[in-house]
């Protein structure tokens, strides 16, 4: 028989026992829906978590911090060394000092932390602005945290766009020469959304120019080639006393955690699929029993054993493929539908919309492959039994 005839006959056999076939296909669809729905929620939440971790950060940056115990220094010499490494595209430094801050208009003073860095540096942090914008590196602008406003007991509107004066209190070790205690006056262009830590963030270059700082507290290294980031980190670690942190590590950890979560979720779905597979096996076995004489007569008419084998395999695969298509459609429909409803509610209540459901195309392809495999595996035993049926016994079967 040709494959076309076998598939056609398999399909006819299934449709001739419509209710049973539909129930079995429904069972498979429910199992596949469960797998798709649960695992896609896993993928969706993982994607959310990674987005939350990454935000605007780029995977071509990693952090360098001075280790504990005065072992290492991130001074100009080390910075020059790091810059000379092959894979290093750029180095963005941060200097951290205590500072005394004064708002000239009210002469209120506050002790804060001063972080001197750059726009690029800030873009690679979790910093969120409550109001205003990031400073420009060369225009005498700075940002202050919400906590500073609390210290100054002033509303954001009064401080934003007004001049602020601060005096960095440099540690001796941080300075190249004699400490300077000049006051610096910058314009506040943004309020950082942080109610806990009173700090200001200002461009580093004017400070370096003024104080000649040679020891920095942290740096963000931009690399040319992300795939070689591990080697670059190792080179820096080999300098001694410096620690590196990479957002990719966190993402790897997240991926690891979520792959466990997804496996557990898939496990629940697979239980449903396993039950559906038992249903399929039962349907095919009952069908085999009912059609014993039919198979006997097919063999007496000259049907080859392998064609009988193919027929049962095809029937198993047709059930699983149809159930799989239904399950994928249902799983995607339910998941994205639910996501849509949640977002509608979020919009109506003024909350941000989010996407907690995500079915990657590769995962769907994997499911399709597994469905076909499931059909073939479940169909295999009845197919084998069918080929072993003795036509003589089958003809005498009541």
């Amino acid at each position: 028989m040709t494959w076309k005839d076998i598939i056609s006959l398999g399909f006819r056999n299934l449709t001739s026992r419509r209710s049973r076939t539909l129930l079995t296909i429904g069972g498979v669809a429910v199992g596949v829906t469960a797998v798709i729905f649960l695992v896609s929620i896993g993928y969706g939440i993982q994607r959310l978590a990674i987005r939350e971790t990454l935000q605007s950060k780029s995977l071509s940056f990693f952090d360098v911090k001075v280790g504990t115990g005065d072992i290492g220094e991130l001074d100009s010499k080390i910075v020059n060394k790091i810059t000379s490494f092959n894979n290093v595209k750029g180095i963005h430094l941060q200097l951290e000092t205590p500072a005394k801050l004064t708002l000239p208009s009210s002469s209120t003073k506050a002790d804060v932390i001063a972080l001197f860095n750059s726009t690029t540096y800030l873009q690679q942090t979790d910093l969120t602005l409550k109001k205003g914008r990031l400073f420009a590196d060369d225009k005498g602008e700075l940002l202050i945290s919400d906590a500073v406003l609390t210290l100054l007991s002033l509303p954001a509107e009064k401080v934003l766009n007004s001049k602020i004066t601060f005096q960095p209190l440099m540690r001796g070790g941080l300075l190249a020469g004699k400490p300077k205690t000049d006051e610096i006056t910058f314009t506040v262009v943004g309020i950082i959304d942080d109610r806990e830590t009173p700090y200001l963030s200002a461009p580093i270059q004017p400070v370096v120019d003024a104080y000649g700082a040679f020891a920095f507290s942290a740096a963000k290294i931009e690399v040319e080639n992300v795939s070689e980031i591990a080697q670059t980190r190792q080179q820096i670690a080999d300098l001694g006393g410096l620690q590196t942190e990479y957002v990719g590590d966190i993402i790897s950890q997240l991926n690891g955690i979520f792959s466990v979560v997804r496996t557990v979720l898939a496990g629940f779905g697979l239980i449903a699929t396993f039950v559906a597979a038992l249903g399929m096996f039962n349907t095919l076995s009952v069908s085999l029993m009912e059609r014993t004489r039919e198979i006997g007569v097919m063999k007496t008419l000259g049907t080859k054993r392998r064609d009988v084998w193919k027929l049962f395999l095809v029937e198993g695969m047709l059930i699983s493929i149809l159930g799989g298509i239904g399950g994928i459609a249902l799983g995607l429909g339910v998941g994205y539908g639910l996501n849509g409803i949640v977002n509608l509610i979020a919009k109506a209540t003024g909350n941000a919309t989010t996407s907690f459901y995500y079915a990657p195309p590769l995962f769907l392809l994997l499911i399709i492959g597994l469905i076909i495999l499931l059909g073939a595996l479940v169909g295999l035993i009845p197919a084998r039994r069918a080929t072993k049926i003795s036509p003589l016994e089958a003809l005498r079967y009541e």
């Binding site: 006819r12 449709t15 097919m298 000259g302 003809l395």
Partner: protein, 294 residues
Amino acid sequence: MAVEAIFKVDKISKRYPIGKREIEVLHNLELEITPGEFVILIGPSGCGKSTFMYLMFGLEPPSEGKIYFNNQDIFAMHEDQRTELRSHHIAMVHQQPIWIKALSVRENVAFPLLLHRIPKSDAVAKADRMLHVLNLEKLANQHPHELSVGEQQRCSLMRSLITEPEVIFADEPTGNLDTDSSIVVMELLKTINEQLGKTIIMVTHNMSHMPYGSKIVSMIDGKIVNVEVKRPPASPDNNKGISDILGSWADRNATATTKPASDSSATGKVQTQVKSKPSLAQEISKPQTKVTKP
């Protein structure tokens, strides 16, 4: 010149294990069947005649002895070769026709041709022509189980004939039929034998069928007790094809039964003559995709 046997049964025995012991259901059987013979295996129930026929059909090997088809030991063949034999050279009609339930009458009749990998459209067209010759075309789209037993049996004969086998085995083909339908089926078998020259090997315990046989093989307790040759084997009418022959048979049969056919009574139909009906030989011999025999 002696005609070569199409089937030769050489001292076969068949034993089945029953618990720890074996019982012998066939004992040292010898038989030769020449082409064109209408062999009737007759005997009481349980005498082993059906088992004997199934052995000759190649469904089960004998415990001892050999069975030759055209001088080839059928149990020395590979299973696939025996399947080819059943697909191309021999066919069987059962007491209760067994159908592929999902398929219509037409598709069931066409099914053996699909095993020859003939395109379905050609196979179905041939099945249609064969059903038409026997006035069964109106049943073509029905499911076999909607037909009366007599109609089923005639359709079953068409299914066995569609691949134009050399031998047709019939296992009590009239066992479930009333007298009228039995006569119709026996007359059809007779026509297939006498005019198409097909060898018929039929199992029955109905003595009224004896006149149809050219060779009567009587069996008792697994042994052949008598072989009576009543007439020489039929030789096919080479000037006529299957459809001519069966077509005129159907004409005769329809003329003789222009009353509500007993086997059609389930549907209350009256069998009527279709005057323009072509004969089966014409239909079968129409150019179409050739059935290749190995």
